[in-house]
Symmetry: D2
């Protein structure tokens, strides 16, 4: 495999592929910055390229892992697909529905495996929750909740965060998780409220760092997705599905079953970063990607899944701006 994009999450993925994914080898890293060289040296990878094109052209590369900035994803997937490479692309797969459709078509035409980085589907709690739902233990989902809070304190420059980021890059995880946990149901209507509560000074320039999104599904279920860019206690991802026969929850902030009792009280073992908290989920998604390639079976997280989550995100952006509920079909038509 080759890595395209050697930033923070790219470095995480590269290490997992190089060292912890049976059946995979990392043979090249592409990034225009010096971080590519550093990462390659650290992992013993020989080939370093400044551009994606070069690695996509290599005959010793069967698959690429795309971890570049979100707005470049669609073009890179199309390019890799055209070269016949299997693709693992971080979320969001695309930021417009037109691009999403273009990516899906390219993957279909090239008959490649296209997997999107919705890691939560591979987290033990989410998998067990879905299994309980599939087993009928929850009944028909009626009320759902999904939360993503990035570890704080928030230190980024709001001016460098593209508009819509909280919906397109953060809550997109929740939108997918809610669809995953309400299997077979179609999201129909979205109402969003968003604000700049962490950096109110940046609100006038369009910055949004806190959001609550309500999603209605065609099976009657009402879901709430919630995000913040600054949880002082660490990375916080959780889900809850309440149904006609019971409830399941997933996510408790713990990264092990260790508990510490000290002078300040009783505290559990927590993680500050997604790459710690969701370590086994990241391992799981690459194992699944390798497995799909080897067995020539479709990816377990598809381009269609990514398109659905995107349609919710775009509707949420509209709703947050207008203050009104937005039909998903309107988004689909608009885009």
């Amino acid at each position: 495999m080759a890595l395209i994009g050697a930033g923070r999450i790219g470095a995480n993925h590269a290490e997992l592929i190089a060292r912890h994914t049976p059946g995979a080898a990392l043979v090249a890293v592409a990034d225009p910055t010096p971080s590519a060289e550093r990462l390659a040296t650290q992992l013993g990878v020989d080939v370093v390229e400044l551009s994606a094109e070069r690695v996509v052209a290599r005959s010793d590369v069967d698959a690429v892992v795309i971890t570049t900035p979100a707005r470049s994803h669609a073009d890179l997937v199309v390019e890799a697909a055209a070269a016949g490479k299997h693709v693992f692309v971080e979320k969001p797969m695309a930021v417009t529905l037109t691009d999403a459709d273009r990516v899906i078509a390219a993957a279909r035409n090239a008959q490649i495996v296209l997997q999107v980085g919705f890691n939560r589907r591979f987290a033990p709690g989410w998998k067990a929750a879905r299994a309980a739902i599939d087993a009928g233990r929850v009944g028909t989902p009626q009320l759902l909740r999904s939360v993503t809070r990035d570890p704080g304190p928030f230190g980024a420059d709001p001016a460098r965060i593209p508009p819509g980021t909280i919906f397109l890059e953060t809550l997109i995880h929740d939108f997918d998780a809610l669809c995953f946990l309400n299997p077979g149901a179609v999201p129909t209507r979205v109402t969003a409220i968003a604000d700049a509560l962490i950096r109110p000074d940046a609100k006038a320039a369009g910055h949004l760092d806190t959001a609550v999104v309500t999603i209605e599904f065609d099976n009657g279920a009402i879901a709430v997705a919630e995000a913040s860019f600054s949880a002082l206690y660490g990375y916080d991802v959780r889900a809850e599905v309440f149904g006609s026969r019971g409830m399941v929850t997933a996510g408790d902030g713990r990264c092990s079953d260790m508990t510490y009792y000290g002078p300040d009280g009783i505290s559990v073992d927590t993680a500050r970063r997604d790459t710690d908290l969701l370590h086994s989920a990241y391992l799981g998604e690459f194992a699944a990607f390798v497995d799909s390639i080897r067995t020539e079976t479709p990816a377990v997280v598809t381009g269609a899944d990514a398109r659905t989550a995107l349609s919710i995100a775009l509707a949420a952006i509209d709703s947050a701006a207008s203050g009104c509920a937005v039909q998903i079909t309107d988004v689909a038509v608009m885009a």
Copy 2:
């Protein structure tokens, strides 16, 4: 004290007052049904009346506890206040803002203690959460959540449930809890989605049994209140307050710290009924009521608190009907 209304919650309150509230004695029970007689016999209370008027007139009654159907509350409080009796009234104190204002004025004029039955304020977890907020450990609240799910299966006749009940009688607890946990902040805008997911057949007749309400506050906080009439696993009340410095949660469904490990797994000690789960909260609210009367200090849950919660409920009713966000001030003016 005298009890007015010998239904399920009245019987609970009567027993707590008669047997478990130091400084209080139950001297009379009023209810037009035979349940009054039964309850009085069981608790050793001598006086049973068919009407509230009769107990309000008794000179050996210092205070009344009103647990009649919601729509009768306002008139009964006004009547008791006129007779100079202190009043503990179950929520909702009133179902219109006009009535709420009338009740508040009557209590003020009579200089009685008027306490409203928002029991969650007395539950250990909620008190501890509020203490953590007051101590600055949460910072400024940004995202809040409050949940109420009644124990299922839902067996009532939808036709006998007044319209608006899920907002006026169930979620009113959450509306108050959210204000309690966002101290000093004023609710400004409400968006509600409600449906009949448990009894879809009754929806056409106006029945609503599942609801999600989003409330915006003047300090920027966004709160979500959620209710269902049928949680198969028992009574479920929880709260979460996420702020600039941390988070507190309250409510875990346990009624003791016992855990059972059996052939079906590990399960905690849960309660099916509010009167079990919130036992100590009920004790606490009556102890506080007695204390306010004895020390001639204002009730810790006031008519003004009840009016605020009611204004949210009324806005939610409007929003659920119109599909649009509703300003609280519009409600206040309308009512």
Copy 3:
């Protein structure tokens, strides 16, 4: 009621009786120190005596609560019984089996209610555990555990702690709890290991602050009781009963269902003191005492229960000294 002994736990009990126990009134406090006067003033109690004799003689006293140092308990109970007063005595009821028998006989002869302060029996988790056992959900108990750790840091002067205190005053709670949670079974053999790990400098003078005691019962069950005088994280009492059909645990260090998520992680709401952690248990034991007096029924924690726990404590003292297992019957015969 009258309080005899106005120390730390006496003050706790006095307040609960005076203010939080329906049906009880505190009319007198006896203690040779100025703390009696202070406590009485604080609680509005008119009668303060320097000696137990004087309060035992009062006709307006129906019952006494004895919270003096352990070695004075037996004589005081006998004296109060002789005066026909009901007695609630803190643990240990006596520190020799001869005294225990003398106390039991005195109570029987005077036909008074004699209740011993094994508070854990009234803690919600322990009651629920016992209920699960009684319901057959645990099957036959096979492995039991009970823990008591006093909140640290340990600051007392070891020279002022009588020998055997860790067994006679601390672990005695665990010995009773283990009998309570293994209903009907008789303890037969005891093996104890004890050390001065907190204050090793005081070991030569006989100080013991850490102990592990193994108790075998006639139904085959093997129980472990563990104590320390210095848990830096606060008061820690727990129980576990593993049986042929399942397991129950009680005690989790939490004093409410509040959880706090802050920069240092996720922590639950804990208590440093027994009087906070076991608040409802203390309330429960006085309510039970009043109930037994009113209904003329035997105490729910009897002198015989206290004698059994004492027999384990005395065997543990022997075993810790000798390094060998000790038969309970040997203790019974010896004493």
Copy 4:
């Protein structure tokens, strides 16, 4: 690698090595029974042998994983070491101290990596607990506990279980875990109580299925290890270390952070089998084994560790038989 012993745990290990351990390949399976053939087919392994000798002799085998019955371990390790193969051997490494010494010497002479299967050291909670201890957060350990309960109901034939099994094969995990969690301390004295509570009918023939072992260490710490062959609620492994500055616990029976709320209450996601509950620990131990081989560094769980755990087990066997405490040094000398 080659697997020697294709029983239940052998099959688990084989699958982890063949499919989930980067850097490892499974090339041969040896077992005299048809299970070897089945396992090899399932995992796509070409070489199947009836004897260990044959796989040890293969030049394409760098390392062997020994999962045969306990009493054959020592000889097999010595044989593999003689052939220069690295060895991962399931616990117990040996059942006599003489054999343990022989194994240690053989590994040293052959300069192979010898790792013993104490999986708990690789479980996230145990690792985090040890990290907290190493960081000084617990202070000096004073009271420790380790529990192993096999999932029930117990269905084996007691006559086919070798004497001492509960100590040599079950509690050996706890003995090692207690040493791991009391780093640097040396066990000095052991007191054991054991019984046949699950199958009392088999006691006369020497069967023991329930045991409590107390271990004293040279740093003053007192540890309790507890085992049962039949926990109806599933596999139960836990640890607790209480020290002068705090406490850590590990193990909570959960195999994910999913919680289910159903008509029977709130239950967590549990595992019935060690291979599910400790899945990540098993992965971790094989990753560590590969890493030691590749980097030519000593195993992280050594023969010396196994010898220490064995010395506790042998002392426990003596103590259970004699009813007296046994010095570890006596065992070492005896053996």
